[in-house]
């Protein structure tokens, strides 16, 4: 339900301000990523846990008890899912590190095999020694780069853990004080602008709600379809792979490429002698991405933000160049929220009647406050 008055949309000045504000926020976000990521996770968890929490509150549970109960059930379910994934593992004797190495080797072998067959098909490629060059580059990368930077990567990943632990705390406070915070914000607004500001707060909440709910639905759909496709062509752990690829797809473009590489690595390791399985896996992946872009995305995220597709694509590029991967991932929800705020503020500031009413209210207050001052 769109509650914003619909008589006019923001003009070019308002939209320039919206895009500038989004870029500024992205720039700031890049420098406060340690806080932005748990904040974002906290918001996602808030939108997942809010409906059952509200239901319990309406059953008569106190707010804190409802939050604790819903949070405990959620943690329990996540723990059960992790345990199920561990026990479902078909080859428990190999460690995660070994498995990663096996899949990496399988993927590299697939690339080598593909290049050799390409050279056989096209003599020109043999002349430029494509396979040898790529092999050499990959050996350098895997041998030197990964070994020298693996520790740094692991240390920086470990450094993220404490900030990620902030997410449940943030969720708790969002759930407990979200409504109070909204009322607190509304209290600061002058009477003349109050009703329109309530609409603004509601619309910001709805935009974020729609976006994150859409994202969760999209992830579930992507996981299910990709898992089915991979299972059909006989790739191992299709559900886990589908879930990882769907979560990676939260990052536009880059996430899809990494997801595809992952699928190819697993498929080529499962059937090292038969490259057609890996080619089929690529085909399934591309089909799912197309389905995602043209069917699922418009059904879930596309409807949620009401932004023109051209602006969406442009902002994804701008987000990527301003704030890297985080920018790619966050530019759309950020733009959605800034758009609602910008358009409403534009309307509030340019409404002469509301400003006149506000001035009148200020004069009334000043007159009443100074009533007994002069004798």
């Amino acid at each position: 339900m769109n509650l914003l008055p619909t008589q006019q949309r923001g003009g070019p000045v308002v939209w320039s301000g919206i895009i500038a504000a989004t870029c500024l926020l992205l720039f700031l976000l890049q420098h406060t990523l340690f806080l932005a990521v748990p904040f974002l996770l906290g918001i996602v968890l808030y939108y997942i846990l809010q409906p059952p929490m509200q239901r319990l509150t309406r059953m008569g549970f106190s707010q804190n008890a409802a939050i604790m109960l819903v949070g405990s059930v959620f943690v329990l379910l996540v723990a059960l899912a992790i345990l199920a994934a561990i026990f479902w593992n078909s080859t428990p004797t190999t460690s995660w590190q070994d498995k990663l190495g096996i899949y990496l080797a399988g993927g590299l072998e697939f690339v080598r095999g593909t290049l050799v067959s390409l050279e056989e098909q096209f003599p020109l490629l043999r002349q430029v020694q494509l396979a040898d060059t790529v092999n050499q580059r990959m050996s350098e990368f895997t041998g030197a780069y990964i070994q020298s930077h693996l520790t740094d990567i692991l240390v920086s990943m470990a450094a993220w853990l404490p900030s990620l632990l902030l997410a449940p705390f943030l969720t708790f406070f969002f759930l407990r004080d979200g409504l109070r915070f909204k009322k607190f914000l509304a209290r600061a607004v002058p009477n003349a602008f109050f009703e329109r500001t309530l609409c603004l707060l509601h619309e910001v909440d709805q935009t974020a709600h729609r976006y994150f709910r859409g994202l969760i639905r999209l992830t579930i759909l992507d996981t299910a379809v990709l898992a089915f496709g991979l299972w059909a062509i006989g790739v191992s752990s299709p559900l886990m792979l589908g879930l990882i690829a769907a979560v990676l797809a939260w990052v536009p473009y880059v996430g899809s490429i990494v997801g595809c590489m992952l699928v190819v690595m697993v498929a080529s390791t499962d059937a090292p002698a038969d490259p057609s399985v890996a080619y089929l896996a690529i085909g399934v992946f591309i089909c799912v991405r197309l389905l995602d872009d043209f069917v699922f995305m418009p059904l879930t995220l596309g409807r949620s933000l009401h932004i023109h597709p051209l602006i969406t694509v442009l902002m994804i590029f701008i987000g990527g160049s301003v704030a890297g991967v985080a920018g790619l991932m966050l530019v759309l929800p950020l733009l959605g929220v800034v758009m609602v705020i910008g358009e409403t503020l534009g309307r509030l500031i340019t409404d002469p009647r509301l400003r006149a009413r506000h001035r009148n209210a200020m004069q009334l207050r000043a007159r009443q406050a100074s009533q007994d001052l002069s004798t």
Binding site: S62, N191, L198, R357
Partner: protein
């Protein structure tokens, strides 16, 4: 521990809400839920609460003080009604976002509780029992106004 079977005691504020015809049928727990959604506003005497023709987004409940409702009539303004504590106005805004058809102004310094339409709509979805109780009270209120109009009695304009 969870207060599951405990009926919350009515605070003076909840008692004032309960006195309003709109919330008279709500239980203490339901009143507490509705109160959690309402906003408090304070208006100075002579301050405009909303204008005629403005898009309506919320219902107002008079908690203290008085408000006056008027509309343009020829060259001047015609007073439609004067409301005191316990009354509510702007009720049609809960149903749709049509323009207000009268202006409301605070007659004294007054305190109002504001029920935003989106919160009401959300309540109808998440808590239909509270939603239907408020809707029924609203329907009765509008029906009474219609009867008054049909019998030619003076009545508060629908806002």
């Amino acid at each position: 521990m969870f207060g599951l079977f405990k009926s919350p005691a009515l605070s003076p504020r909840l008692l004032r809400l309960k006195e309003s015809a709109l919330f008279a049928s709500l239980t203490p727990l339901e009143l507490k839920i509705v109160d959690g959604l309402m906003h408090e506003r304070r208006y100075q005497a002579d301050e405009i609460i909303f204008d005629e023709g403005e898009e309506g987004q919320a219902l107002y409940l008079v908690m203290s003080g008085r408000v006056i409702i008027s509309r343009v009539h020829g060259a001047g303004r015609e007073v439609v009604a004067e409301l005191s504590a316990g009354s509510f106005f702007g009720d049609l805004a809960l149903l749709d976002n049509s323009p207000r058809n009268a202006q409301t102004r605070a007659l004294d310094n007054c305190e109002l509780a504001v029920f935003f339409r989106a919160d009401f709509m959300g309540l109808m979805e998440t808590d239909p029992v509270i939603g239907y109780k408020i809707s029924l009270a609203l329907a009765r209120h509008i029906a009474r106004r219609l009867r008054d109009w049909m019998t030619g009695k003076p009545q508060i304009e629908a806002l």
